[in-house]
Symmetry: C2
Subunit: 238 residues, 2 copies
DNA sequence: TGATGTATTCCTGTATACAAGAATACACAA
DNA sequence: TTGTGTATTCTTGTATACAGGAATACATCA
């Protein structure tokens, strides 16, 4: 047996289909393409100078994420989010996040807790800097949030749970950058994350479950406020 | 406004891609194509006399179901199910099915309970007939099982929960016809369903939650037995 | 014999042409 | 004006050709 390197894989070059998918996904999440808007294969082809085959593939991936839906007249339409749907998802997400927290509380290891602490402090630094009047990088804060929750989810040691949570989070994830605009919400979010890490360290399972449920509820409330204020969901709510 | 008909939709003709998907899906579930087996686009094209485009689409749909996975050397491979994965899924499924039961218990309506009763009696009749030595239609029994759980899930009034449960059930669904071969397991299954309907009628939420968890566990145990006895999962467990 | 460089084969990703079905616009008749 | 039949346009589904990258087989050299 030869030496061999550590476990990371070579990265296969991105296909055009993947590039188209990620581009459209980004634009939808950033609301450059708005809920209700219709997307046609040919239109996308021409604007990106690619053929229909990879665009078709990208459409299917977006559909899988629930970001778009096929419409009978042809093409796809960017999905919206009604308050009823948000409520449905929140209920479900609470169940799953609490379950993940419970499992993570049993299984998480020291180095993972340290990682979480680092993430929280980075986020805290970002938020604190914003309080001193500087511009805040909402994308970076959003990313840290994602990494935080992913790390906990990974500690639950269930790839299926991770997969399902990805699906359930997606519709809400779209609105997170907007919810993070609110200063109070940002502060509370970071503070709650800090407390969650403390609970994981103390293996305070009941406290963690309770706080997780509250945390999910808070995010939902913030998103609901966005949905109500913008008319981004007019007519688009299926 | 004109008269208008009742709410059912016209069925759009099946595309070739859908036909290929359903055919392959059926063969995988029926183990005609076994876990670990490799499938190539061209090979499927030639055997079915269709072009590569619909086959590609079908492959993607199968991948979405988790029935196959892409392999680096090209093509797809039918996925297996390791005991560890079964355990993971069972834990997750229990959480979700219990949640669905809890919601259904609050929201289910009389006519839905009556539907459930009919389904249970049809299943009971099938099982009873088998006890008299007749051949049993396992596919029909399996279908009734699916309808039973779908009806409860529908009563939970959450399309997202339904979607997620579909995903979580899929890997196990593949082995249900095998688990139903066992006579004792069939009898117990029908009896439990009957008790579940009774609990829904009495709105006995705690009892229902408890029984649901047990029911999921029983199915898992049965599938585990199948996995252990056949070597169908040799090497295929990722 | 074993390692290395080269040719070949395999398989997918992509572009593109064609066909068919649905939706729309429009003309014509009552 | 209103309803109906027809033509046109849109849009997708499908087949197919081509290109490129990876894996394999093979030949050559130490």
């Amino acid at each position: 047996m030869t030496a061999g390197l550590s476990g990371d894989r070579v990265k296969t070059p991105q296909t055009i289909a993947e590039q188209v998918y990620e581009l459209l996904r980004k634009r939808i999440i950033e609301q450059q393409i708005k809920p209700g808007e219709r997307l046609l294969e040919v239109a996308v082809c021409e604007s990106l100078n690619v053929s229909r085959t990879p665009v078709r593939e990208a459409f299917r991936l977006l559909q899988q994420d629930g970001l778009v839906e096929r419409i009978p007249q042809g093409g796809i339409r960017v999905t919206g989010l009604s308050l009823e749907e948000l409520k449905e998802i929140t209920t479900l997400r609470t169940v799953l996040e609490v379950h993940a927290a419970e499992m993570a509380c049993d299984l998480i290891e020291e180095h993972e807790i340290e990682t979480l602490e680092q993430i929280v402090e980075q986020a805290a630094a970002l938020v604190a800097a914003a309080n001193e009047g500087k511009d805040i990088d909402l994308d970076e804060l959003s990313r840290l949030n994602t990494v935080f929750h992913d790390t906990i989810c990974a500690a639950a040691r269930s790839s299926y749970l991770a997969k399902i949570l990805d699906i359930v989070r997606m519709p809400i994830l779209r609105f997170r950058p907007f919810s993070l605009v609110d200063r109070e919400h940002r502060l509370r979010g970071v503070e709650e994350h800090r407390r969650m890490v403390g609970m994981l360290r103390r293996r305070d399972k009941e406290g963690l479950k309770h706080l997780t449920a509250k945390h999910v509820g808070d995010v939902s409330t913030a998103v609901a406020r966005i949905l109500s204020s913008t008319q981004a969901n007019r007519g688009a709510a299926v």
